[in-house]
């Protein structure tokens, strides 16, 4: 087929052929499956969250008390302190953790990728900041033993 003929054939073709619909159906299905996997199964919301620095638990804090905490990291060791947030102040030496309305999020961070900030506010699951070795794990409100 010549180039011109090809172009004509494409121009005359329908916008949606059967195959195209199949493509869209598959795409939609994948979106649905991924959405279900990531957000599904209505997780029980937690009552506390644990802060880990490089795999070591450094604090367990309540979710029902609104507060700011500052996580700082220095040479493989992390520490956490409660701070009083001042409007307009930008914290440049770690991750500023905000607890509000039973959810925890990272409000500010000076890590290069800011993935942790984009993870948003959570009341289940984990927030991770790889560059600072920080993991926040929300623990269920249910009963639990040591193991």
């Amino acid at each position: 087929m010549e180039r011109q003929e090809k172009i004509r054939a494409i121009k005359n073709g329908k916008f949606f052929a059967k195959g195209d619909i199949a493509v869209f159906a598959v795409c939609l299905l994948l979106v649905a499956v991924f959405t279900l996997f990531s957000f599904g199964a209505g997780k029980e919301s937690g009552s506390v969250f644990e802060v880990y620095a490089y795999g070591e638990k450094i604090a367990t804090l309540p979710l029902d008390e609104d507060a700011y905490y500052l996580y700082t990291e220095n040479g493989g060791k992390g520490s956490l302190a409660r701070v009083f947030f001042e409007e307009g102040k930008s914290y440049t030496d770690g991750n500023l953790i905000l607890v509000k309305d039973g959810k925890v999020c990272i409000e500010q961070a000076d890590c290069p990728d800011k993935t942790c900030v984009r993870m948003g506010a959570k009341n289940s699951g984990e927030i991770i900041c790889l560059p600072h070795g920080l993991t926040i794990k929300v623990k269920g409100g249910g009963l639990g033993g040591d193991v």
């Binding site: 493989g76 269920g140 009963l143 040591d146 193991v147």
Partner: protein, 423 residues
């Protein structure tokens, strides 16, 4: 048609690529396509040497050593690892001498010892039956598919291949089979044995120091020393996973608690992993050596606690839960009583009428009791009204009036119907 197929090729290929991405991440691929299955669970925050957590670099070094150890054991013990000891024994002809590692030899000797000790209810020789019932790793992904029972003839044939006397342990770590079709399966002992090896590795590495911590290999846990928390130490409390958590929304939850444990190995076997439902009945992956069929004694979960003063406590606990799962309830309770006297074993057996029986040296609490205990001793602040008696998942059964005929309760029937509807 050809055009249509061509057009469909790209979306179809995209779909399968996406699907394979979804399922990647389960297990780590080794060379040759073997995927390691066993997961070691040892948090840095859960291990203390002389009351302190290891430094990050020490912890990483330890974990990499342990990973080598565990992967090596899995290679030895897996029925699937090509060139692994168990895979080679299973593929061997009658009379062929198979050289195995010291670990395989030790685990196999232990397994045969436990088989005798546990009245033949645990056996490492049931692999032909496991394959017949569709629970071997080759069926991964379709364990839950509802299916009928195998034909009587095939069942009898597979059962005739399951006999410990078909295996002879020779000098210098050799194993010889007398029947070609006989096959081994360490499913009921491997993870417990791994726990033993991990804990002895750690204790040896930090010899002369006090080691406290929790080591987990899937449903097996070793509790070394004390739980250290906020600078204070106390005994460990273990939550028994609720095998019927589907009834309460499907979130992993705890139904019962074992309180005040120290220097013990704890293992749970339950019927909510690797199982299927057919005709209103649960077929668990644990095969009853006596009947050749999946265990059907009305027992849904068994947890055993073995003091670490007993040699190979982890492997023993692992084999015990498998054995008890296959016993009629009264026999199970009597047997656990004997094990309690002889080895200091403690156990909790949960039945399909949603009762639990505690035997031996264990303190078992239900949710309400544990919440109260936790408030009093662990500084928590649970609202006890959140744990009313009528909402307890399992209720205490009376050991003295236990019966071998366990009638599934309404909740149990509801659970089975849920599983049946799902598959």
């Amino acid at each position: 048609m050809v055009r249509f197929l061509k057009k469909m090729f790209i979306p179809a290929a995209a779909f399968f690529v996406a699907l394979s991405l979804l399922f990647a991440g389960c297990g780590t691929k080794a060379d040759g396509g073997y995927s390691y299955f066993v997961q070691l669970d040892l948090d840095r925050s859960a291990l203390f040497v002389d009351g302190e957590n290891l430094s990050l670099s020490e912890y990483r070094e330890l974990m990499s050593e342990l990973k080598t150890l565990v992967n090596g054991l899995e290679e030895d013990f897996s029925v699937e690892f090509p060139e692994g000891d168990i895979a080679r024994i299973n593929a061997a002809e009658a009379g062929e001498i198979v050289q195995v590692s010291g670990d395989t030899y030790a685990a196999l000797s232990l397994a045969f010892f436990y088989e005798e000790e546990e009245n033949g209810c645990f056996s490492p020789t049931l692999f032909p039956l496991t394959e017949l019932w569709g629970f071997s790793p080759a069926n991964e992904g379709s364990y839950g598919v509802s299916r009928g029972e195998p034909e009587e003839g095939k069942l009898a044939q597979a059962k005739s291949l399951c006999d410990p006397s078909f295996f002879v342990l020779g000098e210098d770590h050799t194993v010889v089979k007398s029947v070609a079709g006989a096959k081994l399966d360490f499913g009921g002992i491997a993870k417990g044995y791994m726990c033993d090896r991990i804990s002895s590795y750690i204790l040896q590495k930090y010899q002369g120091h006090t080691v406290d911590g929790m080591i987990g290999v899937m449903s097996n846990t070793v509790l070394l020393g004390k739980k250290i928390e906020d600078g204070a130490s106390r005994n460990f409390n273990v939550a028994i996973e609720n095998p019927r958590d589907l009834l309460s929304g499907g979130e992993k939850s705890s139904a019962l608690f074992l309180v005040g444990l120290s220097d013990v190995s704890v293992t749970t076997s339950s019927d909510n992993y690797r199982f299927y439902v057919n005709d209103g009945k649960i077929y668990p992956h644990i095969i009853d050596a006596k009947t050749g069929k999946p265990a059907d004694r009305g027992i849904i979960s068994v947890t055993a606690v073995v003091p670490d003063s007993v040699p190979n406590a982890g492997a023993f606990a692992d084999s015990l839960t498998t054995a008890v799962f296959c016993m009629p309830l009264t026999e199970a309770i009597g047997f656990l009583g004997e094990m309690s006297e002889k080895y200091g074993v403690g156990a909790v057996v949960i039945t399909s009428d949603h009762k639990y029986y505690a035997v031996g040296d264990v303190c078992v609490m239900d949710r309400g009791e544990y919440a109260a205990f936790s408030n009093e001793f662990l500084g928590t602040d649970y609202d006890l009204e959140d744990f009313p008696d009528e909402e307890e998942v399992f209720v205490a059964g009376d050991v003295a009036s236990a019966s071998d005929t366990v009638v599934p309760c309404e909740k149990e029937k509801e659970y089975i119907a849920m599983i049946a509807a799902r598959s």
